[in-house]
Symmetry: C2
Subunit: 373 residues, 2 copies
Amino acid sequence: MAKDGAGGRARPGRAPAPAGRRSRPRQAEVAELAGVSQATVSLVLSGRDDATGRAISQETRRKVMDAARSLGYVPDPAASRLAAARNNLLGVFSFTATFPTDVRHSYYPFLVGVEQESAAQGYDLVLFTGSSTGGAGAGESSALHRVRLADGCLFLGRHAPTDELGRLVADGFPVVHLGRRVEPEGLAWVGADYISASRDVVTALAGLGHRRVLLVREDDDAPASTDRERGFREGLRAAGLPDGPGAVCRSGDPGREITAERVRQWLDEGVTAFVAEETDTGAAWRALRAAVDKAGARCPGDVSLALLGSPPADLAGEPPPLGFDIPRPELGAEAVRLLSALISGEPAEKKLVTCTFRPGRTAGPPPARPAAT
Amino acid sequence: MAKDGAGGRARPGRAPAPAGRRSRPRQAEVAELAGVSQATVSLVLSGRDDATGRAISQETRRKVMDAARSLGYVPDPAASRLAAARNNLLGVFSFTATFPTDVRHSYYPFLVGVEQESAAQGYDLVLFTGSSTGGAGAGESSALHRVRLADGCLFLGRHAPTDELGRLVADGFPVVHLGRRVEPEGLAWVGADYISASRDVVTALAGLGHRRVLLVREDDDAPASTDRERGFREGLRAAGLPDGPGAVCRSGDPGREITAERVRQWLDEGVTAFVAEETDTGAAWRALRAAVDKAGARCPGDVSLALLGSPPADLAGEPPPLGFDIPRPELGAEAVRLLSALISGEPAEKKLVTCTFRPGRTAGPPPARPAAT
DNA sequence: TTGTATGCGTTATCAC
DNA sequence: GTGATAACGCATACAA
């Protein structure tokens, strides 16, 4: 009973396969063609034969390889994962569409690095489409459990629910988050070192002679924002500049927009340099530039500007702002490396990647006399 | 023998689980807690109980649900997909990196639609790249056959080798090509209807009063090019315009560039409108515009221009050309629909998607007197 | 050096 | 209504 031969059988106990379509070749069929057992096929194809001391004759190896090739055999990832707990698949899960219509919000730059490093490490990528409309797990309380099909998963975007992630981590499922993240406890992540990078920008401004520098940031409490503010303040202190509440302006709310009028006022108060945060849409930087322009101040003659990040793509033609670039592909690659290590059983790490300082052309010495006088 | 209880057992026959990692609860454990059989748990949790007429008592349902919740049960996707004989994975194979650094050559717009529709259909995506050396199957002779790990695969780009694709098709593996393609026989594809779209552009020009229209195309015999030429010629004939070899200029070769001189000459010959093909880099359109400009002709005053496709991204600021837009996201979505149908056993289809006519601002009536007189 | 037997967690069929 | 039981395709301890 049971164990019928490997040949095309009627798949008892289940609905018949779609008419006319043969299922993908299995190891059993490769074995039959090569005249060996399925177990031998498994050994040969996994390359685990000589590694574990199990020696398999070259003759057999060749026969198996040939059979596999001629049948176009490819291991079933689900079966591999079930049997061996690994299938060389890395998951990528984002909570907004990975390829949004609006390219500005995309994870594209990260994916460049993720793809490269995954290939280098011998992994294929599975894009879990759980984010958008439904995904394969629509209706489920958690669409997230699907990622367990892969050996590990990368999470993009700050909207990952902490408890779901926590569950994965608690179960020992390898997870890496792209972006610094405080919780859940024990979560591995790779983030950009906004603190140092922001500090360096302020240091550069101070070095140029600026004594009053203002940070314009969004009213958001994500680490990406708070880290920049922290670095900004560190930079002020390191340069011996005043670091009061007046050094930072939370913008973004209605009635708090950066207007020409406010800029004018700040200039009158002695501010000679403005620092903006990079945002998804680049709105902050755009608004600041517009306001300064409208206020009649020239940059970098009358006022210096800096951007804690990269300018939006449509401003690529403008002179590059003083600031830093986030090495997104490198972040993606590093995340894959961490994930790979996790899968190998190493402990969860948290890693900051250094940003690239960008001298830019929007900063110079402050005007000789106070702009307002 | 075998069939030991569901309780925490030592997982015989395999390497011990990584230290400290307890395995997650299985249906068997849920069943035990609920006092029912594992099969019942499967029925209840899959929600397939009332759908198939198998009535399960509310009492049992509740007990199972409670047990599952209290144990924190989440289904193992590997096991589900193995048992269901499908892994809900769709391959996406591109012959250049899926995320090239040069975004202009990218498949991004297609992927937008692919991702959306895949999510809607309950599929996850596996990204393969022909260019990348690595991947889980590195070392194999053909990187292409790796796609068989998915339930079906989408191919992007025209460089897919016909014989390899033919092999997949012959094996009954579900494949859809993004872009019209003549061979291999029996290959399903989704393409843009360049013929109608190009015809409409010519019709629009003729409607404006143009009698001599010239198509500038690359020296390429891909369907994307030949279809446009065919539509162009159809448009000429439909408008009763002359359709000789002089109506088309094959450019791109050295010595055949579109120069100001040649444009001048064509204008002298009575040509009043030029139509260019969209190319990967946008080179044709760029060259044509430059040449016309350099020839001192103004557009649309002296000469009308049209583009069979969309202008390159960096020309987004210029006035939009008369022509059409390729609904790339829609193409991607349609391809996924076709692939999904193929996987369900339906026959291979070929489908053309209608392009969007774009009036643009580069065409007007021809000059009152021949430009050359 | 190769084959046999068995389990991974789920689904689906069939007797009860 | 419910519970055995047989695959799904692969990996591995162990026998041969």
